[in-house]
């Protein structure tokens, strides 16, 4: 038991530290007074204040999963180049915040040398937001970090160069829970299960609450059942679309299936309001095999999407805006992706995506 003195000492509910103490002087002095910004080279932003003061942000790649040794390296680089000030971005890049423009070049070189290349600004491809995968998650249908590493190795020229019509936001999620905004990305890479849960009837009574397990199923496929005299559940397999929600509440309904788990690819989503309203990503490829350690099929498919987009989209057109302009039939033709019955929605409100007009881009070639 803790003594009263120890109890009194315990601090709770203090919340995060106040951000102000982590802001460099140039930001504190120009907070809310920024006038415009420029991107003199990929990965380097210059913000200019109404006062004329300038802030240089140097953005470098990180693998998100980082050792404290790397964080200490970043701390040392911040001490050497940016007065000890740095931040991280919403897409897991690190940014060093410099008030001295003369130090930018040296920092960029050092970061490259240490293996954390600079880039990720403007019309290109920045870091892939992603989930935990096999590193830490119980419901993962694939690893996350390995797919992301393989993809970014291949897409790397677009990280270092701002050479695309617009930004292409790529995101990865290792199951349909989609930790993060995967479903509104230019290219969403989503690991999927494709077989119904395997029920361990011996463990269900000990590990699962039957009513909440039944209620967890969006399609009503999970039913209470007596199996060998014990309370358990059964699954109407035709009704299962492999979302894994039952597994989330009932650990004895496992989804992992090395043979059949794999990866789907979705395109054309965005979250920004610029030009077009935010939109969901739509299915491009229903299934590619899980092929660690380098996932060549996934890397090839994403590379193809980026290449076809880069060749055909107009300046400022995001993937989804480009596809809307040319139509989905031409998208499938240009990318060489096969259109299948899986592309046609058959969940709730499915009819909303049926074409109910003759607005078709007809072509003599068929």
């Amino acid at each position: 038991m803790a003594t009263p003195a120890q109890v009194a000492k315990r601090r709770t509910d203090i919340g995060p530290p106040h951000y102000e103490k982590f802001l460099p002087p140039v930001i504190r002095e120009n907070y809310g007074k920024w006038k415009y910004h420029e991107t003199p080279s990929p990965g380097v932003l210059v913000h200019v204040s109404e006062s004329g003061a300038r802030l240089f942000s140097v953005r470098a790649a990180t693998p998100r999963l980082m050792s404290i040794e790397t964080l200490r390296l970043f701390a040392s680089l911040a001490d050497e180049f940016s007065g000890g000030y740095l931040r991280f971005t919403s897409r897991n890049n690190v940014e060093f915040l410099l008030s001295d423009g003369d130090k930018v070049e040296g920092l960029v070189a050092r970061l490259r040398q240490e293996g954390y290349p600079v880039g990720g600004t403007g019309p290109g491809i920045t870091n892939i937001v992603h989930t935990q995968g096999w590193v830490h998650c119980h419901s993962a249908a694939s690893d996350a970090s390995g797919v992301v590493k393989s993809l970014m190795d291949a897409l790397f020229p677009h990280f270092e160069r701002m050479d695309l019509p617009a930004k292409v936001r790529v995101a990865f999620a290792c199951c349909l829970n989609m930790c993060g905004a995967v479903h509104c990305s230019d290219i969403a890479v989503l690991a999927v299960h494709r077989k119904p849960p395997k029920i361990d009837h011996g463990r269900v009574p000990k590990t699962c609450e039957i009513p909440s397990t039944v209620a967890a199923c969006p399609t009503g496929a999970v039913r209470p059942a007596m199996v060998e005299g014990k309370q358990s559940v059964s699954v109407i397999e035709d009704q299962c679309m492999f979302c894994g929600n039952c597994f989330t509440v009932c650990p004895s309904m496992t989804m992992a299936d090395p043979e059949n788990d794999g990866i789907s690819i979705w395109v054309g989503g965005k979250v920004s309001n610029a030009r077009h309203e935010p939109m969901f990503s739509k299915l491009a490829i229903p299934y590619l095999p899980n092929n660690p350690p380098r996932w060549p099929e996934v890397v090839g498919a994403v590379g193809n999407l980026v290449d076809v987009y880069a060749r055909n989209a107009r300046p400022f057109e995001r993937m989804g805006e480009w596809i809307e302009r040319i139509g989905w039939s031409r998208f499938f033709k240009l990318t060489g992706i096969e259109f299948t019955k899986y592309h046609i929605d058959d969940f709730r409100h499915a009819g909303e995506s049926f074409r109910r007009s003759t607005h078709i881009r007809q072509s003599p070639e068929g």
Binding site: R11, T12, D13, I14, G15, P16, P17, Y19, F22, W34, Y36, H47, T62, R64, L65, M66, S67, I68, E69, T70, L71, F74, A75, A78, G84, L86, R87, F88, T89, S90, N92, V94, L97, W134, H136, K149, S150, D153, F156, A173, L176, C179, H183, C184, S212, A215, A216, P218, C243, T248, A256, P258, V271, S272, N273, A274, P278, P292, P293, F316
Partner: protein, 389 residues
């Protein structure tokens, strides 16, 4: 453990992108990091994960902040038999000093695997992998250093925001101050899960929405303005002279409401028709900027697919001035939470709840009047629940 071979993972150490495998190896003086590498290699060989559901682990007095994680091969990988995640509430805008970062590293070196995520999807600093016995020591050292845990489970998840006015000319309100204020104001809701399901709040300073709030926050607070876009015509002419941008094609023609006219030297905006999309401002940051009558649009209900399908947030309050102490928003949050806590089903997000009971009924219950900004168009079906009582 250290002589364990990892031929599959080793292949991920090559290539230009920084390698997470190298990161795990950098932490290899921790037995936990070594066993993580071992179990991950096994997953790569078998194409399946080896983590079990979380158990109920945490720190005293909190229900959230720690994700329990256990390995299903504890005999082979004893050092990751328990491998819990600790979520640490990040500072607004993810700003740090080298000193603060080192403090966090020192705590994590002593009490965990030495592996982190900077940051997790919701925005927290993620300490990846520790044992149950280390949780209280970690918590006491964190709080001593001025840090606290973030949210998990059916609670208010750690709010997060973009860089806002700290580093962006487009910030229409102070996202950092707002997120700090609501995080401090709702500490109980954040640490002690009492909602039907998770509730996320994300704050973006402008409609570019750099924290993707419209896609993943139960409440999305997105900066906007009501008056005219400010135009510096001299700077417009400078863009024209530079010639990198075709102002007619790339700016005027890309305006979603066609409210921009450009006659070759002067650019004008039909402001009442401007939907504040940001495109022209993004394209010509030196010439155009948001107006000065600034605030935010509040939207609710975004979520990923589980359970009833993915949703984007939808408009609840078309415009609100964003001034401390943000009483309007706090009242709104309390009204929403009270209704949802009483009538929401277990694991039903607020977006799904609103769809189930109807947005009209939801508005009535929380005391907001319906306005046309909330919909893209009025209903087209005549199945109206006329309410004559």
């Amino acid at each position: 453990m250290s002589d364990r071979k990892t031929p599959l993972l080793d292949e991920l150490e090559t290539g230009p992108w920084p390698s997470f495998v190298r990161e795990i190896k950098k932490s290899a003086k921790s037995p936990m990091a070594r066993d993580l590498l071992g179990v991950l290699e096994r997953s790569y060989a078998e194409k399946r994960g080896h983590w079990k559901h979380g158990g109920l682990v945490g720190v005293k007095g909190y229900g959230g902040g720690v994700i329990g994680r256990y390995n299903d091969l504890p005999e082979e990988f004893p050092d990751v038999a328990e491998f819990h995640t600790v979520r640490v509430n990040q500072p607004s805008g993810w700003f740090y000093t080298s000193e603060a970062l080192r403090t966090l590293c020192d705590i994590w070196e002593q009490h965990g695997s030495g592996l982190t995520n900077m940051h997790g999807s919701t925005g927290d600093i993620v300490f990846l992998g520790t044992k149950t016995t280390e949780l209280e020591p970690i918590f006491s050292k964190l709080t001593e250093a001025g840090f606290d845990l973030g949210g998990s489970g059916s609670d208010l998840r750690t709010p997060s925001c973009c860089a806002g006015p700290s580093r962006c000319e487009w910030a229409c309100y102070d996202t950092l101050a707002f997120v700090y204020d609501i995080t401090q104001s709702f500490q109980d809701e954040l640490h002690r899960p009492a909602f039907p399901y998770k509730f996320k709040i994300k704050a973006s300073g402008c409609p570019n929405d750099c924290v993707a709030s419209v896609a993943r926050a139960d409440m999305s607070v997105i900066g906007t303005w009501r008056d005219e876009i400010r135009i510096d015509q001299a700077a417009v002419r400078e863009y024209a002279r530079e010639g990198k941008l075709d102002i007619q094609r790339d700016v005027a023609a890309r305006c979603p409401t066609r409210c921009i006219e450009y006659d070759g030297s002067t650019l004008t905006v039909d402001d009442p028709n401007c939907v504040k999309c940001m495109h022209c401002i993004n394209a010509m940051p030196k010439a155009l900027s948001p107006g000065v009558d600034r605030g935010a649009t509040i939207l609710v209900g975004a979520k990923a697919p589980i359970i009833e399908g993915a949703l984007l947030s939808s408009v609840l309050v078309p415009f609100v001035k964003m001034e401390a102490p943000y009483d309007d928003i706090k009242e709104l949050l309390n009204a929403i939470w009270e209704l949802w806590s009483e009538h929401g089903k277990n694991r039903e997000r607020i977006g799904e709840f609103i769809q189930r009971i109807g947005l009209g009924n939801f508005l009535e219950q929380i005391g907001l009047d319906p306005v046309p900004e909330m919909v893209t168009q009025p209903r087209t079906n005549p199945y109206i629940y006329y309410d004559l009582n």
